[in-house]
């Protein structure tokens, strides 16, 4: 019986993590808007959340709790991130962080991700390979460029424009009447 209760408690906590991942990820980007940091922040927030899972009231709205936890973790992470930066890069990073904190950040929930998947499948083969090479295998623009006899700038621009196409496609795919509420934090 005890084991069953523990399993149920665990399932509830797991479900809370699943439900709130897009929200926490968006907040992570808001407070620490640099590439690659969101994964670490989300991981740390959920690790701390799960470690104390017996303390939370799962019947209440957990978003304020996640918001506070994410802000704290992200601020810690951000301080660490910019600490070693040369001054020019730090000025840019700090400027972008101020912008992010003062603006709404989009939340990519399951609907948005599903739309994005559909749009990826519609990309021409060459474009899809470029996206996969960069986002899945993590190959930099410079490395892609040197392998394809292109300039790094050309690859950077191509990736930027591909994202633009994906964004337009995603917005067209999502229902125009879909609720806007909750899609920004």
């Amino acid at each position: 019986m005890r084991s069953k209760m523990a399993e149920e408690a665990h399932d509830i906590a797991a479900s809370a993590v699943q439900t709130h991942e897009p929200f926490v990820r968006a907040l992570a980007r808001k407070y620490a808007p640099a590439p690659g940091l969101a994964d670490d922040i989300v991981q740390q927030v959920f690790a701390e959340f799960l470690a104390k899972r017996t303390e939370w009231d799962f019947d209440s709205d957990l978003r304020p709790l996640f918001h506070t936890m994410t802000r704290h973790v992200a601020q810690r992470c951000w301080r660490e991130h910019v600490r070693q930066m040369p001054s020019e890069r730090r000025q840019l990073a700090d400027h972008i962080q101020r912008l992010a904190e003062s603006r709404e950040t989009p939340v990519y929930g399951e609907d948005e991700k599903a739309a994005l998947r559909q749009c990826l499948e519609k990309l021409p083969e060459k474009s899809r390979r470029l996206v996969e090479g960069h986002y899945q295998l993590g190959v930099s623009s410079a490395d892609i460029a040197s392998g394809m006899n292109l300039s790094a700038d050309a690859v950077r621009q191509a990736l930027c424009r591909l994202r633009g196409s994906l964004r337009k496609c995603m917005e067209a795919t999502l229902s125009p009447n879909a609720a806007k509420e909750g899609r920004y934090v």
């Binding site: 980007r29 020019e88 912008l99 190959v139």
Partner: protein, 449 residues
């Protein structure tokens, strides 16, 4: 308002998203953002879309490849062929990250409470509870370089392992001169290096690997929720849910390098630590764990006109933990009084306050005439000879620093460019070996004030 995105902005934006902007590009992008506030929203939206693209693209591949590891490899191969280059570890971000699949929550709890499951191996070691070859098949050998042996209950003396051999829970593998690669049905790969010994187990679908000696590298597919893969040595354990890592055990010390994802690593004596992507954990005597950032690949490249040098990238490290290259060179006389040499170069831009460059090297063997020297190249393609060391006169089998002074008057080696040496104009440093036969390890260079 006019369209805020210009080609230059797009190039800088993508550079920012890749963390690849230099100081001047950062400055340009900052100026653009200040001059055109509309670009602020663009950069934040792009950051968000990039972030989600990593997770979505990774998800797609996992779904598409779930049934066949070989199909997955061929898909990845087709992508890499398209870009014609394998990514470096620096660029291999965690797109197949275990965060992307949200069945992960259960697994996180297991990681957080790993201590309670520390008895996995003691309970299931075949020496106390032999499973033998009647146990279920769990993996197979996809590549064997020869010399590996399989030791099981049915063959305690061991049998030779060849590609295609099936492996069962409880099997112990010993490699000799060559390594082997194991493949699990879910696409997880383990490369076991030469002179290593590994025990394989499986418990209720969860993979267990014990490294008793040597080194292994693993690329681990996302593991089922609640069934993380466990790697252990006699003194440390690593719990993984889907990542890329290197685990080494030698001289009573374990080293774990994580190149993708995150791994929970602990010793009997220390609290567990989370080793994140880009970090290396090293156990010390007493059971404590030291975490250090993973080192980047060495920047040395063979100069196009270098000749007759065999280069091997080794897992060995300098005392400071940096990777090394092994260079094997043998001098041959060539016609026309031209000197033969091998040359390794790397970009370099010392600050005005820098007074020397120190290059780490380690002589394994050298004949009396073998020499090492340094050449600095300037942006105007001028070539400046710096100093030289006879390799046979330095103590072998220990690390040295080859010091390249930057302030002394230097000897011009070619007729190109300025006549006066200008430290601010240095673009590359090159290290050459010539004159004899030498085998040495080359570390990286450090600029000193």
């Amino acid at each position: 308002m006019s369209e805020p995105r210009t080609p230059q902005f797009e190039i800088l934006l993508q550079g920012y998203l890749e963390g690849a902007l230099n100081a001047s590009e950062s400055d340009k992008l900052l100026t653009m953002l200040k001059e055109n506030p509309a670009l602020g929203k663009v950069i934040l939206d792009e950051l968000a879309l990039s972030d989600v693209l990593k997770t979505v693209v990774g998800d797609q591949d996992l779904r598409a490849a779930a049934t066949s590891a070989s199909q997955r490899r061929s898909k990845i191969s087709s992508i890499t062929n398209a870009v014609k280059r394998r990514p470096t570890s620096k660029h291999r971000r965690g797109t197949s990250s275990w965060w992307t699949a949200l069945g992960l929550a259960a697994a996180i709890v297991l990681v957080a409470t790993f201590g309670i499951s520390n008895g996995w191996f003691s309970k299931h070691d075949p020496e106390s509870n032999p499973l033998g070859s009647n146990a279920p098949e769990i993996a197979s050998i996809s590549l064997s370089e020869g010399g590996a042996r399989l030791i099981s209950e049915n063959s305690p003396g061991g049998v030779a392992l060849a590609s295609g051999a099936k492996l069962h829970s409880g099997d112990r593998i010993q490699t000799n001169d060559g390594g082997i690669t194991l493949e699990y049905p879910d696409g997880t790969h383990i490369e076991i290096e030469a002179d290593s010994e590994v025990l394989l187990l499986e418990e209720a679908g969860a993979k267990r690997v014990r490294l008793d000696q040597g080194e292994l590298s693993a690329s681990i597919a996302k593991q089922p929720a609640g069934k993380p893969m466990l790697f252990s040595t006699s003194q440390a354990s690593a719990v993984v849910l889907g990542t890329k890592l290197v685990l080494a055990f030698a001289d009573n010390s374990s080293r774990l390098d994580v190149t993708e994802g995150a791994v929970h690593f602990e010793t009997d004596a220390a609290h567990g630590v989370e080793v994140k992507q880009g970090f290396s954990a090293l156990t010390r005597s007493g059971g404590s764990i030291a975490l250090t950032p993973l080192t980047e690949p060495l920047p040395w490249k063979r100069a196009p006109f270098a000749n007759r040098v065999a280069i091997e990238r080794l897992e060995e490290r300098t005392p400071k933990g940096r990777p090394v290259l092994k260079l094997s060179y043998e001098h041959h006389d060539i016609a026309d009084n031209k000197k033969e040499y091998c040359m390794m170069s790397q970009p370099l831009a010392p600050a005005a306050t820098s007074h020397s460059i120190r290059v780490a090297y380690f002589v394994l063997s050298a004949t009396p005439n073998a020499r090492i020297n340094a050449v600095l190249t300037t942006k105007d393609h001028g070539s400046w000879f710096i100093n030289e060391q006879n390799l046979s006169r330095v103590a072998p089998n220990t690390w040295h620093e080859f010091v390249v002074p930057l302030d002394k008057s230097q000897k011009k080696q070619n007729t190109v460019g300025a006549a006066m040496f200008d430290k601010a104009s240095i673009s590359h440093i090159s290290i050459s070996i010539w004159g004899g036969k030498a085998v040495l390890l080359l570390g990286d260079s450090n600029v000193s004030d």
